[in-house]
Symmetry: C5
Subunit: 293 residues, 5 copies
């Protein structure tokens, strides 16, 4: 993830960072350049369409639908942003619960705890570590896919890493209870944090394995494609070769919105804007070790 | 459910998946093709309307309302998406609570548990299994309908499957408490998960048996129909036979938004984009068996 | 409430159900028909306004504000829908809590419970029954109104039905505790459900007795009225008598959005789209009797 | 607060209630009447601007920004409505928690409670009463203001009324615990309601002392002002003296949205649409006295 | 933070407060003034473009995208406002939890508490104080940044101030439990408030160290820049030198929305509209000292 100074307009406008949609769009912008130049050339020079051809009025359609496409894309971006932000909140919750669990155990456990402090100092940060690996796996991504996955032979029988860690945490806590080091009320006090780990894991899996419905996604791409591809037909008459930059800019705007949405709707991956899970897991380790020292 | 690579534009634009709105709309697009061709032919050739007919200006109406219809449909899609996503969250919560319940019981129950582990290994995943069946039943769908349902004679006296499973879970937990295998505090620790099952079930039923108000739904369809049907009247004057593709595309966009909304607003069914409840129930079984082994 | 097949376009478009906004608007559409015909006739035939009258350009205003009015109405409908959906969620929560309370009591109470099962089998469903009656009363609706209500002499001293039922539920639970049939921990286990009843009741009362601010509501109606009433002045010049259907359709769309909002913003009443409280109360009774048998 | 019949269009359109934005805007509408008449007169009669003056095309700007201003104001109104509705929810939560606390104490306290019933019958409703007074005070409103407030010499040292009441409630509950009238588990049962009072108070203070950021608010007003003030310049050419009613109506719509937002964004005051805190506090008293009788 | 009278239009319109976007934009408005004057001069006087140049029609592009840019910016502002308001809610939660913790301890602790009251009177307000310092530190801001920070050599090993305070609070509470001054149930009663501190801290860190994705932010700035920079090309033909004020106003509106968003999206800093953390921390101290006196 990049932390940036949002008030630096110069950098945002004139520099093209590797996560910039502009960079990703360059090849498509070139294609669009060829296509729109071709359309204008064909209509003006090859076909000699008369200036009052009915084709001239097709932009009426683009005006009527311009609203729908903008709105759809802005909503699309915001839905994707909500998923990204929910992912961030979940990992934030993991941080909070790891800290609180460590804080409570540090205060509850007696001096002579038979190695319990050492155990939790390792096991609590392990959850975040294992969850990160789990979310990057293909078996997690395709967990709900209806298609066959011969390349993932163990999709159904996959071991669930985070559950293993949760199991060992629960087991240790209840063992300490049986040994009399933790009272029944203290089990209740630790319950919220222990359950929260599994809740965070399940919610991250949900974001990972459930993209927005395919028919929605496919419709938006089809809509952008037809909308932009038909722009030059009518524009030729009123804009001549200025049609080319105008079409390019409109394409840049609409496609960028879709690209941003694609990049952020799954926040658990290796895209530039994806969440820095490794860094957060490291911070959790640092915090827990600072508390349970 | 289909897991897809949202960055694959080629597939989204040029392939027509069976869940694509385009496929569902083909017959209506053909009807619209005939209708709009007919209108243009009638106005131009049969009626010889003069080019300055007042009919020429009716698209003013479409411009004024173009905004309203786009906005309404985008909101409609987003409301439907919220229902779909809430459904997914509820099943995610079922996953989390099944896992946490299994994790806690695995840690709480003594070695000699008189078969309790075996019981829960079967009963916990059973809830998801039974809930899935319950949500697909007609008696669940029509539970709040005011109409008569002679085809469902047992609508009112229907056995409630998920409640039966919950009953047996509660009964077993309290029996273990009476036998002294679970303490009073441990009942409190299990309370959240046990109640959550019934809460998830009730919330899924709500989404299933309460569609958006009928007057809202009927209004949107009437609006789309009149809006699109009146488009060719004025377009003929400025677009001639180009009216046909323009009308078709506008119809495609507006109807697709409504179709997507219809498909996803009830996520518990057999549509392509509906939630993979069977798969999730299987995953729960796998997880619980992995924990309570 | 009507459960309908949202994929049935034919029925939605061509049939006019009794809850359809079209039916409610018929008299106003007739008035608008007379009015707009009158305006066109006056401008064209009586006043012989010249075709370049400045009045011709007044639709500029409608274009500039067309966006604001559409947006306002779509937001209005969505706010109303949120209230309706919140109402449904609250009753769903009542269902869940009734079921969970029954499930817990069924598991907790010993065989020899001195009639406790029988008591709860009647008292739990009674809450929903009494709440329904309570929400339909005028004393509930006007609970926060600043005006005088001579027709409701007992507005301030009104007995609060749901509180009475809650009182008897709490009293019974604590009596069972005193008799030793329920432990202190079990009181904690029942606490969530018992409090939830009162929370649901208070939230339903909030939706019932607090409509959206009057100045907002009055502004929207004034805005629609002036907007539609001034439409024909300028349209006459470009649409002649086509002004009439165009104005009617625009009026139909804008007024329908407001009508739908009015109908669903108070979900506790006797409108067609209002929540089927009686049916839900019956379902609760059926569920509870099935559990506490 | 006014409870009104939202289906009464006649009253909403033709009557001007004292809370109506129309009434508040009358003086400004008169000013705008003079101003726009002046502009039209100046351009047409004094300056004799030619009909093809470039000024004629300035409404292009209003079209491009018409969307932004409408959207901004609708969002503004909705954000304000969210604050108002949150305020209502908070007081609803106060009602629920007061009732639940009374219900629980009524069931928990033994017959011989040494005056505890009498104490709570007075102290619980007192919280709402004191909170209402607290929210109307200037010291609450300016609690976070960075400016100097010489007129409020005790701003920093102000006694916090609601905290005093909460203190006495807590003290009584724990005293009863020490006397053995309430068990440890019963303290846990009362905890939610007791904490909720302070949470409600803090959230109401937040809404009261934190208006939306000043730069946002100032920008919206500047935007409306410049937008409306420049409208007549170009309209004169196409609308002549019809410019006056058109400008007035546009101003009425935009300013009304801002006025409604201003009125409802702080729901704790003496505006007509503000929440009826006194009435709600009275209802709480009535409810609690009905329960703890 | 500034508390202002939102009903004072005069002040908002005619005064330019230091937090006003207008002030921040003055240099850019001057640049835009030069630029747009230059473009008009070049097109009219230097190049003598014919009045029917195709360049004349480029504003078609601005109309088609005008909707997208307005919508994007309004959504941007609202997303930023949500972050700001969430920040305010978190500090409100800190206030509530500090008060409730103090209220409970005041009621729980016996007269002879061995200095516990004195301890908590200092330690509870300390959390807010330390959290404020923590949020203003660079190590907090860059905690998740992927870049190298040689200027912050201790970024990874940074001591976590709020955790230290939480540790001492937990330690004291459990020490009192071991001394028998607090029972096991009372630990449960204090649990919610103690965990809440860490949850608030983690959520504030999240807002601080996770700005909206860089590609989103960079795209919006690029979009505004190109949109405004291309405005004068076509406007020259219809507006001549009126192009200059029109372009300036459009730039003012679009850039203001982005500026407001930038200022409020990180509410923990030293901007004028940032949250008055110092003041809130002082209020917490005052409240806690008033309760634990």
């Amino acid at each position: 993830m990049i932390y940036y100074n949002s008030k630096n307009w110069h950098r945002a406008i004139f520099l093209v960072h590797r996560s910039d949609t502009f960079r990703a769009l360059v090849p498509y912008l070139l294609l669009m350049l060829l296509y729109s130049t071709g359309v204008v050339y064909a209509e003006k020079t090859l076909l000699h369409l008369p200036p009052d051809s009915f084709l001239r009025n097709t932009p009426t359609m683009h005006t009527l639908l311009g609203f729908a496409i903008s709105m759809l894309l802005v909503f699309r971006t915001n839905t994707a942003y909500d998923r990204w932000w929910e992912g961030r909140k979940l990992w934030g919750s993991l941080v909070n619960n790891s800290r609180n669990l460590a804080l409570k155990l540090a205060a509850m456990l007696p001096e002579a705890d038979g190695g319990a402090r050492v155990f939790f100092r390792q096991a609590i940060p392990l959850y975040a570590q294992v969850l990160q690996k789990h979310l990057l796996k293909d078996t997690t991504r395709f967990a709900l896919d209806e298609g066959a996955h011969p390349e993932l032979p163990d999709l159904d029988r996959a071991q669930h890493g985070p559950n293993k860690v949760a199991e060992s945490l629960y087991a240790k806590v209840y063992a300490l209870h049986r040994e009399g080091l933790l009272s029944g009320e203290q089990l209740i006090l630790l319950n919220g944090e222990l359950s929260a780990f599994t809740d965070v894991c399940g919610a991250c899996e949900r974001i990972k394995n459930t993209p927005i419905p395919y028919s929605y996604s496919a419709f938006i791409k089809k809509f952008i494609f037809i909308y932009v591809a038909t722009l030059p037909f009518g524009f030729t008459f009123t804009l001549s070769y200025y049609t080319v930059p105008v079409t390019l800019f409109i394409f840049y705007v609409l496609a960028s919105l879709e690209l941003i949405a694609e990049e952020i709707e799954d926040p658990f991956g290796h895209d530039t804007n994806d969440l820095p899970m490794q860094k957060m897991a490291d911070n959790i380790r640092g915090n827990v070790e600072g508390i349970l020292r």
